[in-house]
Subunit: 195 residues, 2 copies
């Protein structure tokens, strides 16, 4: 039996995306965004939803570039800090205990200790209610040597990314492989085609 | 050390969203979308990226409504089948072994066996390369009684949703709680405010 929960922003999982930008004075800033995700593959693109009062909103409007950094479980406290502290009040990198480095392809900072980072160039902006949705073309993905597996492919279990649970406000583990995509459903497809 | 992976559509985790619509003849259809996520909270909104050649693209253009159903690990094969079969060739619900029911708030089908479903009304459409991005306002969330915990809040561990790994094409488990959001970083924030 299904129960009505109401009009809530709930799906599972949502990602924990740490968005890196430079302030107008060149200092790095980062914020925690759960409302976002891949939104295209030709070109590869990512969307992030940000409120206008955020420092990151100003920074992306000015610079038209940003990075999206993926935390692992060990960096959960840092990721959460980037979400609950305001870049307008606090120089977050002074206290976060992680290192901002300039990305190679765009003028935005990535976080050295985070296992994966997407470098993004703004290609479209739209608004939904109180959120501005920035859509960035992914011009490069950076991955730590330690999370790259065979054939140069990033290994999801080695990344050990965390997800955000928008119903109960928990972080969750997301890395454990349970099946192969484009393959798990082949038996059902075979049966459908035989009939 | 970071390695360059190139311009790829990669973040972790991405969700497995099964989008439900009715065909023009009233039969239910469903497809598997990994490029999507929550994109606003006032109003609650979700974005899904779909190519124009998909049956679901036609259906949403016509009906302006869709559901987003969240599979758990037990339903992984069904979720994958919805992704690798084409709604233009196969009546997917005839073979998937799950039940399409009409949603209460919109004229679109949800999947009874899936633990969570968002009922969505189309409010905006945009394009990024080969993908059309449909943005739907979430007008209601349905949750199975079995996944609703204390105080009527959905329990992420009971949902047991799966994620999609766009680097290696695996499905991953996503339900295990590892920390509390808006709380895990409080100690760092306290230190920052003291200095």
């Amino acid at each position: 039996m299904k129960r009505e929960i109401g009009a809530e922003a709930i799906i599972f999982p949502t990602p924990v995306l740490i968005v890196g930008t430079y302030n107008e004075d060149g200092r790095p800033n980062a914020m925690n965004v759960a409302w976002g995700g891949i939104c295209g593959s030709e070109p590869p693109a990512i969307s992030i939803a940000i409120r206008k009062e955020r420092k990151t909103y100003e920074n992306i409007c000015r610079s038209k570039v940003f990075t999206v950094n993926i935390p692992n479980e060990k960096l959960m406290e840092v990721a959460d800090f980037f979400g609950i502290a305001s870049g307008k009040e606090i120089d977050k990198f002074k206290y976060a205990g992680v290192t901002a480095k300039k990305a190679g392809h765009i003028d935005a900072p990535y976080i050295e200790e985070f296992p994966v980072c997407a470098e993004c160039r703004l290609i479209k902006t739209t608004e939904i209610g109180k959120h501005v949705i920035f859509i960035g073309e992914i011009v490069n993905v950076l991955a730590d040597d330690s999370v790259v597996g065979e054939k140069g492919i990033i290994d999801v279990e080695k990344v050990g990314a965390i997800g955000f649970d928008p119903a109960g406000n928990y972080y969750t583990a997301t890395g454990q492989k349970v099946g192969k995509a484009f393959s798990a459903g082949l038996e059902i497809l075979k049966q459908a085609k035989e009939k």
